[in-house]
Symmetry: D2
Subunit: 365 residues, 4 copies
């Protein structure tokens, strides 16, 4: 199950410290212009080593298009993308080959497969998400060109810090994807203190898709929100997913939660743009909880593969808050889900005529 | 996409007020004893009309086994289950055929399909979940017999009320699946007040699976937690899913969150029994947020299918808190996910020998 | 794997002598008018007991639509069809419960599942094909309405008898789906002699789809011909499948086989309407080999479930040539494959504009 | 649909004259030793340019393992294999970019996608089958090690020439995979004459798997023979597939065709080792018809992309009989189908105990 999506189907491969990582995208519509340099922007956004607040691994992340694109245009055949690993320092990981780090997949892979690649977490490394971001570059472009869909996101909480104000324009201007520019210095200090302490914290990311037409998604098990939940929970370190108001809905009354529709539009968007598993035309909203990374300089108790107690100290290059780089990854998964649902909707309902009325979305948000 | 699961595959069909609902279960291992009366217990637990706090629709929910069982034993061929609808009062819904109720799937189905069955919500009705519970009876039995896996759940919040104490034995003793018997009267009053107000509230359900062996689940897109997230989010009215500590992880430090392993077992279970998408052997823990039902006696503004503003009043039989009956449904989805992953694990890793050490789970919880 | 198709997905269930057989059709486009009586025609064409040349089992085969159709129109939700078994004489099969009939699935089911339903072949009975024919009624109707596609077939060989002339209009006028009306008496005599001998023969069926637009099918593993091959080989008793000239291509020269295109159209159709796995716009042609039925009155050696040699005599109601009733079944599988590919094509390539030139098909055939 | 298999899932990518071809194998059991040099043998067997009777394209076909193998052993994570294209002479194909060659996929790709990669047939080139052969090296090894399954094949007809005697040992000793060593000179002359004529012929390949245990395969749509049919028909230029006696069954009597079982084994194997879609324990037998290649030096009429009549002359490097190199490809598809079914069988029926009696296979063949 290293594939994602039914019709726009992404299969990824590769280990953190193997020769390369890559993906195959099957089912992409033909006729879309795509060039290798278009992957640069989003890959840079998720890259490590760009600031002192993230892991200092430096990967060039040069994407090579191996197939499926002819003279700059998709042909409808599978698009293979390849990135060679260049900064894989396997010596960092030798000492943990015989140990199970707490909070990591070491122990579970060992029990599942009877073997594991210990170099940098092997397949369980977040490096795999690079290919999700790469694949989603294609999805984002198609969604934007064909439907005007725009996917974006921000960091909505780090530890116990939340934004004091909100400005989409601020998000790209700081290394945290933070929507309040005035808090940048505070976050820098917060992260510096955290890094020095050897500990880590969790984070929350919020992503949003605008201009999704009403009607995408499928009833019952193929619900748009169900697939978003799976998509987000499949990202490393994610422990929770919310659509719209999410867990806040528990304490709400129905008279508040239900989003009233009128000729002037939806009065609110508690639902996060999805009803009955199908998009309403309002912004699709999703929040994701990231746990604090488990790779700490702080020593801890652990086990070795022979069943003995050992002291575990992690010395590799790690993020004190994995959520900081997660915004482009969450955006990518949102784009991949929407892309797949767009094609599935066209398959079954491509000849459903325009149904009136379509509620305006201007007043919602 | 009315199918769930890859190898233990459940396909459901049926509308709330159509002739029948049913499911086909493909991929069930042969040799499992199963009888029609075994569906009774869990179907009764989720049934409407059992207390004054849930919808007063009265369905007998008699399961007929149409195939796949020979002389009381599964044969490995598809098991079809059928329940006839007997208390479908379509007259209750006639007036809303031309309207879009806020917070319901009316509007989105209309835009997706250009047609909808307005009787009782049609396919978007929670009645569909009856078949999930029925299918999961088989999964639960196989998981218990082959692996000793036990699946159970409780209501962990309703509106802003949370349990003051916790006792698994209390859960079956009240109509709310509530773990604190001392609060029953309080909840009765809460619900009576709510019902009289014409409004509704949300709820939170927590489900748990014990004795899941380490190694179930798959890396990347087939993660056990990713499939749980999709499974839970596919239930009607769900807006959020958490694994283990879920959103509380955001504010935690890694030194707290990472569950230390030693020869005496795991010291904690913040992870909810899953690391890297694969079970650890600890209890698998999942919490689910249900929104307040949108069917209220309180009038509201809405639209009709011609685009005109109308006043919407819902007069049918509805639950003031859909979460109350949701515990068996969430248990069912947990069981279905585990069943499917158990078979998938056996397929790929059926010849992986026992790997030492297996961390004891006694001290965790 | 009791499901067929990716987007127009048919899941069948039921045993020959169980309470019922049925299917669930997921992914049907909404807005198609369908009524229970529309299943009558094709079900009658495949039915047993209509002539003395086929099994004398008499089933009413009344289709009940359980879901997915509202006021006579498909809604896009799963369509469940149910047929109750009414003429299941289990007493006929009691004696063979402990034996493996040669040429039947008794032995293989026993080894796979460790259990089998011996009544009438259980799941391995050709009765399952009833639901393929039923599901294909919907596919045929959609294909005809949306694309003008017409699916038809005939018996092209029985034993060593082949048609001496060809006339589509003759096919419906005899119980053999035979294209040469002048041979009807000859075939009657052939079958009467065969039936009296207690033996059986094989047959060949040829099916054809006209007006399939160029472009349906997918490269590599989703080839239109690959899916046709699987579809046909999944029918009981099929041992071979050919597309276009099939095995005759082995001895052909390329200068003969390649179908020359010009502005006046294709000069021939050796390819059977498919090149590179994708339809050319010419008639899609497929031939299918059916083995002689293995249920004979002639005694034979066999084994019982304890491993002892026994004499096997089959006394139930059986067809001396299963191929006679197979034409509607092969048509059904052709229609199901085309329907699924039509939706898949629309999903990926729904915005590919009309590409000139489209070669006329008038001169081909 | 560039993926094959459900649990042992192979996804291929790459165009004939693009930068590379490759595949991702998902679901491989862990713990299997595999090295890059093990791909050499089968890739050489299918390679072009080895004799004067096949296309003179010379590819090194060096396989690079990009992932899923750690220290020489499979880890259970996806195995990516990559082969760089080194002898892609695009100048050979420039002139046909604007034309549709008869018998090729040019016209159908054009209509499906509105764009095509004309270099060497692009995705529709038989070069794609290289990766099937590579992936099957892993499947063959696992099948042999775990179950003793042996997969092999031979050329059973070329044009109108058939073997006069049969000897498995002869197959590897000539460039035709021909089972009668005495005919080698005859075939050399046949091919030389054919090549000089500028024309081509078809061929028939027969493949066989020994030691397949009874019980592999699934009823109805997942039949072992149905999946073999799809697998073989998905190979370029295939027009027909037979299981066991195939089309010869049409003229057989049931008293001949049904393979009698006794305590001494099966008396014959007309069924080709499959009954009811499930393996019997006898050799699984499959024959495949290849059409004559359509790329001829003989000029022919054709169309250009503007709809005008043109003369088509193909000058590239092509096989006068594509079937000659097809034996390893057919073996590969047989191995991939068996591998996938082996895992699926273990998933559902892994705890079915040994069922007596198992019919000896010694006397069959």
């Amino acid at each position: 199950m290293n594939s994602f999506g039914h019709l726009f189907r992404v299969t990824t491969f590769g280990e953190s410290h193997g020769p390369a990582i890559g993906c195959v995208i099957d089912g992409c519509p033909p006729g879309l212009a795509i060039a290798e340099q278009e992957f640069r922007h989003d890959l840079d956004r998720r890259a490590t080593g760009k600031t002192r607040h993230t892991s200092q691994r430096h990967e060039a992340d040069e994407v090579e298009i191996l197939s499926g694109v002819y003279e700059g245009t998709t042909t409808g055949t599978p698009i293979a993308l390849l990135i060679r690993n260049t900064d894989a320092r396997s010596r960092d990981y030798g000492k943990i080959a015989g140990q199970f780090r707490p909070g990591h997949a070491d122990y579970t892979y060992w029990h599942k497969y009877g073997i594991r690649d210990p170099r940098g977490g092997g397949r369980s490394s977040a490096r795999e998400t690079t290919m999700r971001v790469a694949a989603a570059v294609i999805a984002k472009k198609w969604l934007a060109e064909k439907h005007g869909v725009a996917v974006r996101g921000f960091l909505s909480q780090i530890g116990d810090v939340t934004p004091r104000s909100f400005d989409w324009d601020a998000v790209a201007g700081n290394p945290f994807f933070w929507p309040d520019a005035a808090q940048t210095a505070e976050l820098e200090t917060f992260m510096d203190t955290l890094r020095k302490s050897g500990d880590s914290v969790g984070a929350r990311v919020t992503v949003q898709a605008d201009n999704v037409p009403p009607g995408w998604g499928e009833p019952v098990y193929g619900k748009l929100d169900a697939e978003l939940a799976a998509a987000m929970m499949s990202i490393n370190a994610v422990k929770g997913v919310e659509i719209g108001d999410g867990f806040a809905s528990v304490a709400q009354h129905g008279s508040v939660h239900r989003d009233v529709m009128s000729m002037r539009g939806f009065a609110s968007n508690h639902a996060g743009g999805i009803l009955g598993g199908i998009s309403t035309g309002q912004p699709v909203m999703c929040s994701i909880a990231f746990k604090p990374t488990s790779s700490l300089r702080l020593p801890t108790q652990g086990l070795d593969v022979h069943g003995n107690d050992v002291e575990i100290v992690t010395t590799g290059r790690h993020d004190p808050c994995v959520g900081i780089r997660a915004t482009p990854i969450c955006e990518a998964m949102l784009a991949l889900v929407l892309m797949d649902q767009a094609l599935r909707h066209r398959a079954q309902c491509g000849d459903v005529g325009e149904v009136t009325p379509r509620v305006p979305t201007e007043t919602s948000g």
